[in-house]
Structures are given as C-alpha cells and as structure tokens.
Subunit: 253 residues, 2 copies
C-alpha cells in the first residue's frame, strides 16, 4: 500500500479522500485540516491533524488547497526529500518548495460537494521530476481512475484554460438559457435534452462537424430577430461576439 | 392511423420520417422533395412526389423546410382547410397560409445527418389553433416522444434563442477548447469527461449552483494568467466577456 497524507479539506481533497478510501493501492494515514470538524464525517478523528508538525512519515503528501497557499504550505512542511504533489490545474510544479521531491496530481473534473462523482472516468494528469516518483503517482492514480496521462506544467496551462472554456463558460451559457426561458414562462426542463445531446455529439463528431445554428449557416434574418428579441445588453453582447466567432470559425479576422 | 404527408427532405424531415415509420399512430402516405433521389434510401420511390399538385389527401401535412420558404410553400399547397404544420423553432405559426388549419410541430433537438437520435427523449413543442387539431398533433407526438409540451409562438421564440446559447454557443466553446489543446499538444480527449459532467451536473443542480472556476471565485490572479497565456484576440475577447458576465451573475451592470 502507498501511504498518503492529504493536506487540505476542500472540495477536491474530500473527493480524493473518498476515492482513496476505496483504492486497493492507497492508504490514507493522515489528513491535515485547519478545522478538524470539516472532515470528521469522512476521516477518523485521530487521523486528522491541525498542525503541520504532527504529520507522520508517508510515501506521498498531496497538497490540495487554494493555489495561492500552495507555495507557503509546501515551505512549512517539517521534512525534506519526500514526495510532495499539489492538485492544481493552474500552478506550476515549481510552486512547490524544492526541499522535497515535487510532483502534480491533477484530477481534471468539476467537483461540487453536493454531487458524488465517479472517479474511474476522471482523467488524472500527472507530473513528477523522476521516473520512480512518476511510477508512484501512476500506481495510485490508476487505482482510482481508468484515464491517466503524463502532462507537463506547460501542457497543464493549456488544459486549464481550455477547461474554463468548456466548463465554466459553458455552464454560464446554460444559466443564460435558463434566464431567457424563465423570463418568458418556458420551463428550462425542455432544454435539458438538447444540452445533453450537445455534449454527447462530441463523442462521435468534432466540434466543427457538430456546429449548427443561424451563425453557422449565416442566417442573418434569424440572427437579427434574436438580437431584437433580447433586451439585456450583456446577453446581446455575448450573442454578438459568439455569433461572429462562429462565422469566423473561431479565428480573429 | 393518422395519415401524414411530409414536405421537405432535409435533416429534420429525414429524422421525422425515421421516427414516424416506427410509430403505431402515424402512417407516412407521401413525402414531397424537389429531388427524388435525396429520399429513396428512406421512402418507397412511389411515395415520393416532386410536384405539390401530386399531394394526396392526408390528416396532417408537415412542412419541414428552411424558414424562409415556409410561407411560400404553404401558399402553394393545392388544398384548403387541412391541418398544416411547420417544424421551425423560429417561425411564428402565422408564417403558414390561413387557407389551411395551422399548427407547429417543433422537435427541440440538434440533428446531424451523421448521428442517429433517440426520438423518445426529444421534447416536441406543439401549437394549434383549436383543441381538435392540438389533439391530433399530441397523439402522433406522443407516439414518438415521451416529452410533449404545448408551446405558443411567443414562448417558442424564447426557447429558440435559449437553444442558441446552450447548444450553438456551447458547441463553439468546445471548439475553442479543442483549438487551445491542439495548439499546445494536449489531446482534446482529456477534456471530454469534463464536458459530459458539465452537462450532467444540471440534472441535479441549477446552473448557478453548478458554477465553478476563477471568474466565480473572483480569482484575479488566475484570470490575469489566462489572459496573458491566450494569444488569439478573439479567444481573449470571449474570455473577458464571459468572465465579466459570470462575475456579474449574468446581469448587465
């Protein structure tokens, strides 16, 4: 068993704790949390430490906290030459202090506390400084997920920006669709099958092949009608910019 | 059996023909197409007519053609006082000529010729001028789908604009994500589970509840880093506008 200490108690940390507790390769020996009570529903109370100096020896330390605290916490770790990774999509591997062996264990998914996730289909992006450490990360990653990739810090930047487009921005478009429906007494439920099919389609088609709609077919009559119909300036601006972008096939002209 | 003539041979027309051919309530008696060969893979050749004057008597005529041709074709129909509907999300019921009884049969989904669809989960939005006609539409709609709604022309406008946001624009964001990945040698495959989960989430959460990411948490360091990372002006503009919109919760300030 690979012995793991998890540092953090947020969303990602909690989903990792749940996933590792089912893994046959990983054993959580301790979890660090500033507030013990935020984890008592998941971890035995005697495994939760609130002081970094109480951390025991382990094969792997996973820092899963906000990006801006990673550097500081990694400096405060009271040991050297251990394998220490973070779970951030945005932070370089070099945000970790060099007194330990560094790595990244980045599960690429959108986590909500309220919704359970199936970790087996979540891609885990790994980075390490040497092959032996990569192997440790790979062993535990493969024990919870079927989709494991080596991804450099440079590649991870691209992945994280892309994730903002396909997840954060997409979800915001759902919100706009819901708002337009509700303003006109149409149940948003009607749109949900369309939303699922939009995602489903890219299993078999590229996004360019899957593109449909008035912008794609240069249907200026419908585009004008939609712009006249929308009353909110923000909605209009987003409609215009994305319509132009589809017409230019995503390129700046 | 409700006898149906379909007028049109495009994407929606072809998916309807396939769906009705399995229905126990509907019988396709004829299909009108300017080019016979575009439908011979789906319909017996002797049921395809290329001249409107050859249309037989039926209980229902479904016009499934481009929006700008609906009005003209409905005028050219060589009969009166029959039930004639169109399948458009954008056109009012009044685009149909008043010499016949008018209605709308709008399946709200994104259809690609290349991809088969499960019609049973596609919402069908119905409109008719009187209850008897609505009942005919409802009978055949329910014979191919489990999700049937009465939707007025006014409501349909809202639905169609919303559909552009949640489908056309969302798919374009997938395209942008793919482009950013490819530019940096990251397989787009890694992002697909995130795309599916983004859609899945709104089965149990509202879009506002599901929102995550740097814009939502006002993480200006990550937002700045992403904007510096993007080199394409169009990508930058879309990033900025959607980030602002998330920060303002979709409202114009």
């Amino acid at each position: 068993m690979i012995q793991i200490c998890i540092i953090g108690s947020g969303n990602v940390a909690q989903h990792l704790i749940k996933a590792f507790s089912k893994s046959e390769k990983a054993e959580i020996v301790q979890v660090f949390s500033r507030k013990k009570e935020s984890l008592t529903h998941l971890v035995d109370s005697d495994k939760i430490v609130t002081d970094l100096s109480d951390l025991k020896k382990a094969d792997l330390y996973i820092i899963s906290i906000t990006d801006d605290a990673i550097s500081e916490i990694s400096k405060q770790l009271p040991f050297e030459n251990q394998l220490v990774v973070h779970t951030s999509g945005t932070s370089s591997i070099d945000f970790l202090d060099s007194k330990n062996r560094k790595g990244v264990f980045y599960p690429l998914q959108t986590f909500s506390k309220a919704k359970p996730v199936d970790f087996s289909i979540i891609p885990i992006c790994l980075e390490a400084e040497n092959e032996a450490d990569y192997h440790i990360l790979e062993t535990i990653a493969k024990s919870i997920s079927n989709v494991v990739f080596p991804i450099s810090s440079e590649q991870r930047k691209a992945l994280h920006v892309s994730a903002v487009f396909v997840n954060n921005f997409t979800n915001h478009l759902y919100q706009m669709g819901q708002k337009i429906c509700e303003e006109h007494n149409v149940p948003f439920e009607i749109l949900k099958p369309l939303i699922f099919e939009t995602a489903e389609k890219i299993k078999t088609l590229t996004p360019v092949e899957a593109q449909t709609g008035p912008a794609k077919r240069n249907d200026s009559i419908t585009i004008e009608a939609h712009l006249n119909y929308l009353t909110d300036e923000n909605q209009k601006n987003i409609y215009k910019l994305l319509t132009q972008s589809i017409q230019n096939n995503g390129k700046t002209l």
